[in-house]
Point group: C2
Chain length 444, copies 2
């Protein structure tokens, strides 16, 4: 077998990269669980008709077939890989609605697949971390603040370039359009959604032609879209545009609550803003919408998005409203790992390599490793009784900070191979400095 | 959308079942990392020709296609979902051989897919936990002992019915067959592999007809297959059969080392034995072989298997020998979860539900939750300012042990809803008893 080549769109990490990814996933899990969100995993496979229900991205689905399908396989029942975690979660909620307790708070960290053309920020297999609250019939607004808070707390703890959570509210925008007399607020929203992609004059033209606004209305819509602030001051600027509408008021109030709710988490790695041009193309959002930019990587688009939807799922008699937000783990990490901007202090969990003097004394070295592990210190035994210089290089290549030597089966010494310092040590008592116990994630 | 039905062969857990699964996965990860094994994840997808290389299980592969494939899609290049973690790991090793450090110690916990007929113990989507050591050119035998030890340490820590690791050695068996003058030791092994499935007289017949043994040879082979012991005493019983062969000696010595190497981990939940009829059907094992039975669930077959293979992968000039063992997480857990034999003390991570007196005082309740979380105590705030009885029922249904009350915005009290005991408490200091901090896995 010749050396295989990587497969475009299916990124894989080195052991070091994987340590970075695990650290990020651990941060999400720890944060979500501190907030009382339960883990759910759904199968990778859904009926094709469910995956195509929304129609928009049908081209991207991977369809499955058994290589040698038999008469047992119903040809009318096709299955595909899920392309997000929302469709399978909606199905899981409906399937288990009698057993789940609502409001149901769940997080879900899994891979998803889309057959789109690979490029930086777009993969065919990628990892998502989703957190949602779903109600049975209704769901109070304060959960919109809560999911922003729990995600913000995780984002603020991630070792990534600064993340800016941008929030808007569909009610605010729709109320404003209604307040200025727009006949088709949805059409206005579709045009405004293109504001980052088209020249300003084109957007204005489209507001006139497609959204049927007059010149003054178009100007006010563009003025609204320009408003953004890192605090609640956006509200005064909206009011200054002189539009009045009950839905606008409600949306303004909600957006102020979300922005103020996460303001306390601002810091070097995280900030939050109200951005009144954020629309999120998907039609099913009905209130709060979230997007997130990573500083220096704005070309990736949003790395963390979501919002409020009045109906995640419905079984005809009951509808399940929800609010949630999803972090694109692979989208955010892949460019940082491939550029070497993020790495780990070593490529293995091992803190101590126990050297072996000769194969006959291997059991004594194994006993040292057992003693270290029993106290939670990751340890491995050298694979061969090579010259000590070679055993030290074995540790060095992997970034293992300490090598343990047993002289004459009696004297125990441990060497910090970075400083060269070597001290006598007791396998039942010696502990590495806390920062060396486990690999750490650091800037590359 | 009507209530969807589960999909046969694609098990999904309730939030409580998922807590059990996470506990098992955490145990594997913690143990593997303590022993210095690095985590690797590979993509779910491999080229079809690689998946079919071994030929044996080609019927079980799921093949992928993009729903709307374009001219960019090479019709000659098909992809399928991996059906184990060994094929993708071998490919990963070859692809990255220039960057990896050998011997390479990795663990891998991922889902795999097989399109076979679903039944208890056989799923179409299931989770595996693999641990392997792979060398470049050669790999010392002591790693056979090591992978048995690391897996045994994990198995002994799992909250499962007693697991019995059964070990054999192909060299021992092949040397024995050679020593009695069998012309085709591989044919003998294929027959002995069926010993658990066929009546004894049929096995004897096959030894005579298919393996071309004479009566005396067949008797000695059957006598060998009957040998098993919980310690190294099997070796004397093999010697007593009076067969002599260098390969037999080598295999005996290796098997003694593996059995004695894990003997120290024996306990209520784990035991180890040498079982000389364990053959593992797959041809690529060349020395140690491992299987594992779960007490009371012997009908599942082996839940944890592996062995030594002289060539995990080869690029023509270099071959990569390995030894590894794989635990079938879904195979072992699904019957226990579906029978209710294993569960968790609650269905959510939450230790404390902070009650809300009225919506105006929600911020005060949120502040309590923030204070608890800052000290690592999982907490959530009640979704609505309902009557306290209803808020307590909200906690009770989820198994949340504590409800926090704020009276008049000043007096803090926390109630253990199991005992009914209610005490005044400080959100900056109160801590639940350690066993209540996180959900625990318990017998159902």
């Amino acid at each position: 077998m010749a050396r295989p080549a990587p497969l475009s769109g299916f990124p894989e990490w080195s052991p070091t990269g994987r340590i970075v990814e695990q650290h990020v996933l651990d941060t999400f899990r720890r944060t979500f669980e501190l907030w009382g969100f339960a883990s759910v995993e759904t199968r990778a496979v859904e009926p094709l008709e469910e995956l195509l229900r929304k129609g928009e991205i049908d081209k991207e689905v991977y369809v499955l077939r058994r290589l040698h399908a038999t008469a047992d396989d119903d040809p009318g029942r096709q299955f595909g890989l899920h392309y997000d975690l929302t469709v399978p979660f909606a199905r899981y909620v409906l399937e288990n609605s009698a057993k789940l307790h609502f409001p149901f708070r769940r997080y879900q960290i899994q891979k998803v697949w889309r057959g789109e053309r690979p490029q930086e920020g777009r993969y065919r297999e990628f990892l998502q971390a989703d957190v949602d609250v779903v109600g049975n019939g209704d769901l109070p607004f304060h959960h919109d603040v809560e999911v922003a808070q729990v995600m913000a707390e995780a984002l603020a703890a991630l070792p990534l370039p600064r993340l800016q959570l941008q929030v808007n509210n569909r009610k605010l925008v729709e109320g404003f359009y209604r307040g200025i007399g727009a006949d088709d607020p949805a059409a206005v929203m579709r045009v405004i959604d293109k504001i980052d992609k088209l020249p300003p004059e084109t957007v204005r033209d489209l507001l006139l032609t497609e959204a049927k606004l007059d010149d003054a209305q178009a100007s006010r819509c563009l003025a609204l879209a320009e408003i953004s602030s890192f605090d609640a001051s956006f509200a005064d600027r909206v009011m200054a545009l002189g539009v009045s509408d009950p839905l606008l008021e409600e949306g303004l109030d909600e957006l102020v609550q979300v922005v103020e709710g996460v303001a306390g988490l601002r810091g070097e790695r995280f900030t939050v803003s109200a951005d009144l041009r954020i629309a999120r193309g998907l039609d099913y959002y009905t209130g709060t919408v979230y997007e997130t930019r990573m500083a220096g990587f704005e070309h990736l688009g949003s790395v963390c998005s979501g919002g409020r939807y009045d109906s995640l799922a419905s079984d005809g008699s009951t509808s399940y409203p929800g609010v949630g937000i999803s972090f694109g783990v692979t989208r955010a990490l892949a460019p940082l790992l491939s550029r070497g901007l993020l790495t780990a202090t070593r490529s293995v969990p091992t803190a101590v390599l126990v050297a072996v003097s000769d194969e006959d004394s291997r059991p004594a070295s194994v006993a040292v490793a057992v003693a270290l592990r029993s106290r939670g210190i990751p340890a491995e035994v050298a694979p061969a009784a090579a010259k000590f210089g070679k055993q030290i290089r074995h540790a060095d290549r992997r970034g293992i900070p300490f090598v343990w030597f047993l002289r004459d089966g009696e004297t125990h010494e441990v060497k910090d191979i970075r400083s060269g310092e070597q001290v006598t040590a007791d396998p039942a008592a010696w502990t590495p400095p806390a920062p060396d116990l486990h690999p750490r994630v650091v800037a590359g």
